[in-house]
Amino acid sequence: MNLQKILEKHAFQKDHLIEILIDLQNEKTYKFVTEEEVSLIADALKVPVSHVCGVMSFYTLLSFDERGKYIIQVCKDVPCYLNDDFNVLTTIEKALDISCGDTSKDQFFTLEQTACLGCCDEAPAMRINNKVYTKLTKAKVLRILEEYKEGILC
């Protein structure tokens, strides 16, 4: 779906701005929104560009930066911390040779931290794009990363 289609789906309604931005970002391999698209959206919804930029910068899930094909978000909150005996974050940092906040050179993975994913009953948890993985162990994390690389998971 291109931008025009997304705007039509939302009937050019101003209050759908966040929905439009989420849909647009989800369409793209590298999960980001460009400045050009921001102007187009502002024109189409008849709102100032600054308003769209304000929304873009307020919400954590929206990004102006190109990110990896797969965005790994490791939960950083207390219930997960209390069940993380091997350190999910450093395990992934080591396995992918990147630091938290970075994207791998081949633009395949981006590693981030996230607030609680609402899976504390199955902690520790992480999210890769729209999928949540829980009850993580070191072996499970490494296997999941491999399966993404091999295209078994996507």
Binding site: Q13, H16, I18, Y59, K76, D77, N83, A115, G118, A123
Partner: protein, 418 residues
């Protein structure tokens, strides 16, 4: 049996999609009954039930409904499914496992207050819940439980899902409504309250997922019957999200009046390897951290007034002796630093300083002066901020200073010795 399953009675008995199975499990009975009642009769039943909001603040539900009923303009209904408080997962379970119960509760509420459009605002991270709702709303509409002339009545109600985009503060009711309007989620000054001026300035009734899910059972069995469940202070059941260092983490439904201790030991099976409990955080990152000797308290809000706090939305986070108190408090404060919307200076700037001070405690570098600064900063944020985020965020600092003062003293003294 400690558990009493009312809201969770259909969990795992159907796939959460088949409306036929929901009906076979007595679904939509309450809605049909509601259509034979007047708005005022429905609100009377909810008043009798003494139902309070399950989103954290515990406000009597019927008061908001009555205020809505008195309004004559177009009205909106909003379900708060932003569930972002660390330690909570109950609303996700309610949506994923029995979405029709929520839809039924919302239609009853909309019919009672006369709202013809409703939103369910779900946090963007909850993909499965969002998909589940989108599918079931479609099915319920085709079967005549949503849309025009519901169950052949004169009443019409359209329900749509709105996604959040990663901002905890959007769970606050006004921030949420700003977000539904397509804006950054920054709260408004109140009053006016949502029932006067909500979405697009129209009267709006906003309730938590669990609150709406209580309506079908209240209407089906009557408010008086409902009020026989629970304690002297709070009626009905409460969903508890048990997490941290316990054997059986999970979602449990218990009547109000159940003690925290019983939940942890009987339902949670105690800590793994029987390591002693060091402390328990109640209500998520914004809730008090209490020592084991206080765990025989009830789970109702009244009991929590001694902490100048609420029981919150039902999280119980158990922390055993292997963890450092300061690491836990630091993590809570890092959460609020990230989630502050930036509108008030004490919240925007104060959390930066609080995090720095706590890092000194974690690293054994804190002095008595740091303790005093931490204490006064926590008080300032608590008392001078605009919305519940800042008003409640320092609770873990304030409560640990009250109940674990010796841990602070010890840390400061250890620093002096080195």
């Amino acid at each position: 049996m400690l558990e009493k399953r009312i809201l969770t009675q259909r969990f795992n008995k159907y796939d959460g999609l088949s409306i036929r199975q929901y009906i076979d499990l007595d679904g939509f009975k309450a809605l049909e009954k509601a259509f034979s009642m007047s708005s005022q009769q429905i609100i009377e039943e909810i008043k009798l039930s003494q139902l309070t909001g399950r989103g954290g603040a515990g406000f009597p539900t019927y008061i908001k409904m009555q205020a809505m009923l008195n309004e004559t303009r177009d009205k909106y209904l909003v379900c708060n499914a932003d569930e972002g408080e660390p330690g909570h997962f109950k609303d996700r379970h309610l949506i994923e496992k029995d979405p029709y119960q929520l839809i039924e509760g919302m239609v009853i509420s909309a019919y009672a207050v006369g709202a013809n459009k409703g939103y369910i605002y779900v946090r963007g991270e909850y993909n499965n819940a969002i998909q589940q709702l989108e599918k079931t709303i479609k099915i319920a509409t085709t079967k005549g439980y949503l849309g025009n002339h519901i169950c052949d009545s004169d009443f019409s109600f359209e329900l749509v899902v709105r996604r959040g985009a990663g901002a905890y503060v959007c769970g606050e009711e006004f921030a949420l409504m700003e977000s539904i309007e397509g804006k950054p989620g920054r709260t408004r000054v109140k009053p006016p309250f949502p029932t006067e001026k909500g979405i697009f300035d129209y009267p709006t009734l906003i309730n938590n997922v669990e609150t709406f899910c209580n309506l079908p059972t209240i209407i089906e069995h009557g408010g008086e019957h409902y009020s026989t469940i629970g304690s002297n202070h709070a009626k009905g059941t409460k969903l508890i999200c048990l997490s941290g260092n316990v054997k059986h983490k999970g979602l449990y439904e218990v009547p109000y009046g159940t003690s925290i201790n019983d939940v942890i030991s009987e339902l949670g099976g105690g800590t793994a390897n029987d390591i002693p409990i060091q402390m328990v955080q109640i209500g998520g990152a914004c809730g008090p951290i209490i020592p084991p000797r206080l765990l025989n308290m009830d789970i109702d809000n009244e009991a929590f007034e001694i902490f100048d706090a609420k029981m919150g939305a039902g999280a119980i986070i158990v922390i055993d002796e292997n963890y450092d108190l300061f690491e836990i408090v630091l993590r809570n404060m890092q959460f609020f630093l990230h989630e502050s919307c930036g509108k008030c200076a004490p919240c925007r700037e104060g959390h930066i300083q609080i995090v720095k001070l706590l890092q000194k405690f974690v690293n054994y570098q804190a002095t008595h002066k740091d303790y005093v600064s931490l204490q006064s900063l926590a008080e300032v944020i608590h008392t001078t901020t605009l919305c519940g985020l800042g008003q409640t965020s320092p609770t873990s600092v304030i409560s640990t200073m009250t109940y674990f003062k010796e841990a602070y003293d010890k840390r400061i003294n250890q620093q002096n010795k080195e």
